[in-house]
């Protein structure tokens, strides 16, 4: 910018701000167009019977929301998503915490192991889905290995049996998120001063007591982060399930996020899909805020 002739200081400041403000405004405008506006459009569509085949759509009030009460496919998708969210969050946090405690040493071998532990988080959900599918499918790697070892005589249909498929999805998603929780817990462990442990040892505290009275309280903020992120991630999970099971068999592993996409792009029920999407947003928001609040309070109390 060329420097303008000196005028009142305020005017000058405003004038100089122009370039920066234009950039900042552009950023905010794009956010408004691609997040805020779509959110309100979804809210509006959820009150209509919008459908790409109809030229115009009518306002139907809360009919779409009432329809949700009687939609058993939605109910099973929501229940599965919630069970998955809680199950995966618990498993990934326990695994990640245990892993972090195990790997919290500085020698080279531990550093290499730490590098490996994060790998699941780097790979895309699509690749994760395909690799695990090749492992878990009926004539896949896992059954071949188990049969070679003589542990099973008949192949187990990990992805074909509804219950087993639900479990398999849980294992794969926990695997991905454990890489994340491990790294966060490791960083938290490394910020605990060694003096705390030394003092506790002098006072006669054994390993179990040190874990309960030092390690767990000192990593409480990390727990808050890990639990919240795991929850949100599973609630909007789409790619891994789509590739691994496609929501099957018989919709047993269909997540709420997948159901929305199916309603919108396969069944063309825009209005109803938007209502379900808004409901998912509400569930996510309530869960995330409640969890954060509870865990924040826990951080203080521990």
């Amino acid at each position: 910018m060329t420097s303008p002739p000196r005028r009142a200081g305020r005017l000058r400041a405003l004038r100089d701000d122009g370039g920066l403000r234009a950039l900042a405004a552009l950023g905010l405008a794009l956010y408004a167009v691609f997040i805020v506006l779509p959110l309100f459009m979804s809210l509006h569509t959820s009150l209509t019977n919008a459908n790409p085949l109809n030229a115009s759509s009518q306002y139907v009030g809360l009919a779409n929301y009432r329809q949700m009460l009687h939609d058993s496919e939605l109910h099973s998708a929501v229940i599965y998503t919630l069970v998955l969210a809680f199950g995966v969050t618990i498993v990934a946090n326990l695994l990640g915490f245990g892993f972090a405690v195990l790997l919290n040493r500085t020698s080279l071998s531990y550093r290499v192991l730490r590098t490996l532990a994060f790998l699941p988080q780097v790979i895309s959900g699509v690749i994760t889905g395909f690799v695990w599918q090749t492992i878990l499918t009926e004539n896949g790697i896992l059954n071949t290995l188990l049969q070679h070892m003589g542990l099973i005589s008949q192949p187990v249909d990990w992805l074909g049996d509804p219950r087993l498929a639900q479990l398999s999805v849980g294992i794969v998603v926990s695997w991905v998120l454990s890489g994340f929780t491990t790294v966060v817990y490791l960083a938290a462990l490394q910020s605990i001063p060694q003096e705390l442990y030394d003092a506790a040892s002098i006072d006669g505290a054994g390993p179990a007591r040190r874990l309960r009275s030092i390690t767990i309280p000192m990593t409480a903020p990390a727990t808050t982060i890990c639990v919240t992120i795991c929850m949100i991630t599973v609630l909007k999970l789409y790619d891994i399930i789509t590739v691994l099971t496609g929501g099957g068999p018989a919709f047993a592993t269909q997540s709420a996020a997948q159901y929305i996409v199916q309603l919108a792009f396969t069944s063309d029920e825009f209005g109803y899909a938007s209502a379900v999407a808004i409901a998912l947003l509400a569930i996510s928001a309530v869960l995330a805020l409640t969890m954060t609040n509870v865990l924040r309070r826990r951080e203080v109390n521990l």
Binding site: I35, L39, V126
Partner: protein, 303 residues
């Protein structure tokens, strides 16, 4: 969520080394157990990463060797899986990698200046304005992408950008990624001393100039974090390219794999060969810059 974690440079604190003499003088029992401990850690970690190991070794094995022992290292290594993956007539990998690279580069190149300029601007506003705007940006981190997908496609259609790369890139720039970038930058910009900014202003520098020549160099770790994570997330994104780009515009690496491998049966060797090549870029990238990666994750996750 918690702001204080941003105030110090996370690169310095998050992965700070533990004292090397941790507990060494005290417990000889612990010393004697330490080889056992390493062994246990190695076994558990290897079990944990076994799916990745399976992918890598079987990418270089013949179908027969995979059937006989899928867990063994490639005793008769073959490149045939790799070459057949590269020589596919649909050019799945080459086109996918090229398209993903274009989307990532353009999206990140736009998000960095827009989000950092916005963060610098907002960090000098009144606290109330700032709180309101940041709260609405926080929503962007939490909104499931499925909620905004349909309207986003409608908006892009109105703009004439539906089913196009510019449309996908634009929706990336304005989407939740922008929120993430702003939160990382705002945290770091709090640590920029206001004296430096004031001094430059007195010297007659415009805000734009101060942002470009003073603030940006000072928040380089934030730029690193934002670049690394946005690149990874956009590279791995599946839902948006699948529906915003649609099938006729060519595929990114994620949607390409899904659309061409989801339908047909290919043998395990070819599957692992393709997965190995498709996954190698982010993995190598991570291995090269893993320190910044984990530091950024620890700081970034405090969103």
């Amino acid at each position: 969520m918690t702001a204080p974690a941003f105030t110090s440079s996370p690169a310095a604190t998050a992965t700070g080394p533990t004292p090397p003499d941790r507990g060494r003088t005290k417990s000889t029992l612990r010393q004697r157990l330490s080889p056992l401990r390493v062994l246990m850690a190695i076994v558990i970690t290897l079990v944990f990463v076994s799916p990745i190991y399976i992918t890598v070794v079987n990418a270089f094995k013949s179908e027969n060797d995979i059937d006989n022992n899928p867990a063994s290292p490639p005793l008769h290594p073959t490149m045939s899986n790799i070459t057949s993956a590269i020589n596919r007539p649909d050019q799945l990998l080459q086109l996918g990698l090229r398209n993903s690279l274009i989307v990532v580069l353009c999206s990140v190149a736009l998000i960095i200046p827009l989000s950092s300029a916005f963060s610098f601007w907002i960090s000098r506003r009144q606290t109330r304005t700032r709180a309101v705007i940041l709260a609405s940006l926080a929503a962007g981190l939490m909104i499931p992408p499925q909620v905004v997908l349909l309207p986003t496609i409608r908006i892009l259609t109105i703009l004439g950008l539906d089913h196009s790369y510019p449309g996908l890139i634009l929706s990336n720039v304005g989407g939740g990624y922008f929120s993430f970038a702003v939160f990382v930058y705002v945290g770091f910009m709090r640590a920029v001393p206001s004296e430096v900014v004031e001094a430059a202003r007195i010297d007659g520098a415009s805000s734009l100039r101060i942002w470009r020549s003073i603030v940006m160099p000072l928040v380089r770790p934030a730029t690193a974090t934002v670049t690394i994570f946005l690149s990874l997330w956009i590279w791995n994104d599946f839902l948006n390219p699948l529906f915003i780009l649609g099938p006729e515009q060519g595929q990114t690496i994620t949607t390409g794999l899904y659309l061409s491998l989801g339908q047909m049966q290919i043998n395990f060797g070819q599957m692992f060969g393709i997965m190995f090549l498709a996954g190698i870029i982010p993995v190598v990238g991570y291995l090269l810059i893993q320190k910044q990666f984990r530091a950024g994750l620890t700081a970034g996750s405090v969103k």
